[in-house]
């Protein structure tokens, strides 16, 4: 089989691991492809490289292709999310000023309870809380807004500003932001630099949030179905490998290389094991499925996940619901996922939509091979999102 090289853009983050592992551990090679991995300095850059054909696929924040389909932002080339690359993996943290104020009130930094965290924040700051996030179209923004609306911090409100994670420490120091929501390793880097403490994992707000997707241009997905399939399977196998506990130290070492994340393996290990150090005092908290690459059909691009994102974006940006649903339908490609994943032997769900937030405990569901169990996907406030109710 002749090896075909596929240029793929990514942002150096822990959840780019499936691409890096697919390349380094031979999963790409086994599919007869070679990944030409290009590290990007910004999400705008990833989007432009993909939209204008510099790369054929990319690691991308799940709301970006949906926002593009809704003509939000400057570029609207049609993109397809052919797989979810990672579920969960963000952290919400506060700067030193808020950390000290919270401690003075006896807050214990349990890194688990969003309602208690909001109550504590509301008790120490009366003016709006300013959060730094990496990008305007991101799960970070959606989780913050969802949490901000449904808890006590709704009273003072939250403001969200875009701050590239490498500049977050200086933005905190300058008082531009009070707090932040970022993907790992940036939360652990902030703790390590002594500029902040971690308040919540993103997972505490939504148990099963599609964080990054494997995105391609839709025209490329149509004209190169064979390559898309090979790429999807290589990334899926890398995710399965990453989900095995015995792979984690090797994965941390790989990701820590200068060519990839260029931070210590120990910091990366925190996210992969879910054993996070939440403050400079060394307090440790364990979070199962802190970032998930495989279990519970994590890679399946549920149309209902896309609809949830589209409906949240539509509300903020004043776009009609039917337009949002249509955009979501065309972007999360459950159809391509089904078509191309069969050779992996992985089990696929029978449906392409689910009522988001309705799964409270690990649950067996109807699937192609009858062996699939979905992980909890509840929202912290127990609300559910029924995709059929928003038509």
């Amino acid at each position: 089989m002749k090896t075909v090289s596929i240029p793929v853009a990514y942002v150096p983050l822990v959840d780019a691991a499936p691409l890096i592992v697919a390349h380094e551990m031979g999963f790409a090679e086994a599919e007869g492809i070679a990944l030409d991995l290009i590290a990007a300095p910004s999400w705008s850059s990833v989007r432009d490289m993909l939209a204008f054909g510099r790369v054929d696929a990319a690691h991308m924040l799940s709301p970006i292709p949906i926002a593009m389909a809704m003509h939000l932002g400057g570029v609207s080339t049609p993109l397809s999310a052919v797989s979810v690359m990672s579920v969960n993996g963000n952290v919400i943290g506060v700067g030193n000023a808020l950390e000290n104020a919270l401690r003075a009130k006896g807050y214990g930094f349990d890194f688990a309870d969003p309602i208690a965290a909001a109550r504590a924040l509301a008790s120490v700051q009366k003016r709006p809380l300013t959060f730094g996030v990496p990008f305007p179209f991101s799960m970070h923004v959606e989780l913050l807004n969802y949490w901000g609306e449904a808890t006590q911090i709704a009273d003072q409100g939250i403001e969200i500003r875009t701050v590239p994670p490498p500049l977050m420490a200086s933005a905190l120091a300058a008082g531009d932001v009070d707090a932040f929501c970022v993907g790992e390793p940036w939360g652990s880097v902030a703790v390590e630099q002594g500029v902040g403490a971690l308040l919540l994992p993103g997972k505490a707000i939504w148990n099963f949030a599609p964080e990054k997707v494997l995105a391609t241009r839709s025209d490329w997905a149509d004209t190169e179905p064979d390559l898309v399939g090979r790429l999807m399977r290589a990334v899926w196998r890398a995710g399965r490998w990453l989900a095995q506990p015995q792979s984690r130290s090797t994965a941390s070492e790989l990701l820590s290389r200068k060519a990839y994340l260029d931070v210590s393996a120990e910091l990366i290990d925190r996210a992969l094991t879910g054993q996070l150090t939440v403050s400079a005092r060394g307090e440790q908290r364990q979070v199962d499925h802190f970032v998930e690459f495989h279990a519970g059909a994590a890679t399946f691009p549920w149309r209902s996940q896309a609809k949830w994102i589209a409906n949240r974006l539509a509300r903020v940006h004043g776009i009609p619901t039917d337009q949002a649903n249509e955009a979501a339908f065309g972007v999360f490609r459950a159809d391509l996922h089904r078509q191309h994943m069969v050779p992996t032997g992985g089990d696929l769900p029978g449906a392409s939509e689910k009522v988001e937030g309705s799964i409270r405990v690990e649950t067996p569901v109807a699937s192609a091979q009858g062996s699939l169990r979905l992980l909890p996907d509840a929202f912290f406030d127990s609300r559910v999102f029924d995709p059929s109710a928003v038509r």
């Binding site: 300095p41 910004s42 432009d48 400057g74 500049l167 200086s170």
Partner: protein, 227 residues
């Protein structure tokens, strides 16, 4: 071209860091039709690069060019100039802060787009190859964008090429050093001369389908571990 430069342009040379205060270089070209002039904002921290871009743009086009050299509050600072076009290095991580400009509800009243449609479509691709990204106010005609972009693309291409050459030279130097160390290790361990040591490295590289520099690096690393 004579450029009257205002403001603390010298501070820009502090170089590379976002922490420096806002600096503006405003450049007024010799022109008559003030209302027709385009306003261009260039986001660039490096003073020499910024001046190069300003020179090129003002020489080629009838426009006002402003340079912003600092990241904090970027979207707000850009919006204050009400630009027609914003130019920024594609590798600049602060680009994501500009994304807020593309939202209609953002700090700039007029929505901004990476120009993609119609006649400008090919330009966007060329711009990305050259390493410059441009944000253009919606509705600005391609005929007005093109000359500015052609100039910017040429300028950024040149800088990118120089940067690549410099990186290549550095890499070659690094590799040279590693190969020399590997040769030294082989000469000492096997009692052979320099030519024989290099021949051995080259033969091993060819047999394994690897680069000489990679084989040398592996040898140096292994020797460090064993040593």
């Amino acid at each position: 071209m004579q450029l009257p430069l205002f403001a603390q342009a010298d501070c820009l040379s502090v170089g590379g860091f976002a922490a420096i205060a806002l600096h503006l270089i405003s450049v007024f070209c010799h022109c008559t039709a003030m209302a027709e002039k385009l306003t261009v904002v260039v986001v660039e921290e490096d003073r020499d690069r910024a001046l190069g871009i300003v020179d090129a743009l003002t020489a080629a086009e009838d426009c006002d060019v402003f340079v912003i050299g600092n990241a904090s509050g970027l979207a707000r600072k850009i919006a204050a100039h009400v630009p027609d076009i914003v130019l920024i290095d594609i590798d600049n991580p602060t680009r994501d802060m500009m994304e807020e400009l593309t939202l209609a509800s953002g700090p700039l009243d007029r929505p901004v787009a990476m120009f993609v449609s119609g006649a400008a479509g090919g330009l966007a691709q060329a711009a990305i190859e050259a390493g410059v990204s441009a944000y253009v106010v919606d509705g600005l005609s391609p005929e007005r964008i093109k000359p500015v972009m052609d100039t910017a693309i040429a300028r950024f291409s040149m800088v990118r090429q120089m940067r690549n050459e410099l990186a290549e030279t550095r890499r070659a130097l690094e590799e040279r050093k590693v190969i020399d160390r590997a040769k030294g290790l082989l000469m000492k361990a096997k009692g052979i001369d320099e030519d024989a040591a290099y021949a051995l490295l080259r033969k091993t590289a060819m047999d394994q389908g690897r680069r000489v520099a990679d084989v040398a690096e592996a040898l140096v690393t292994a020797s460090g571990l064993l040593g």
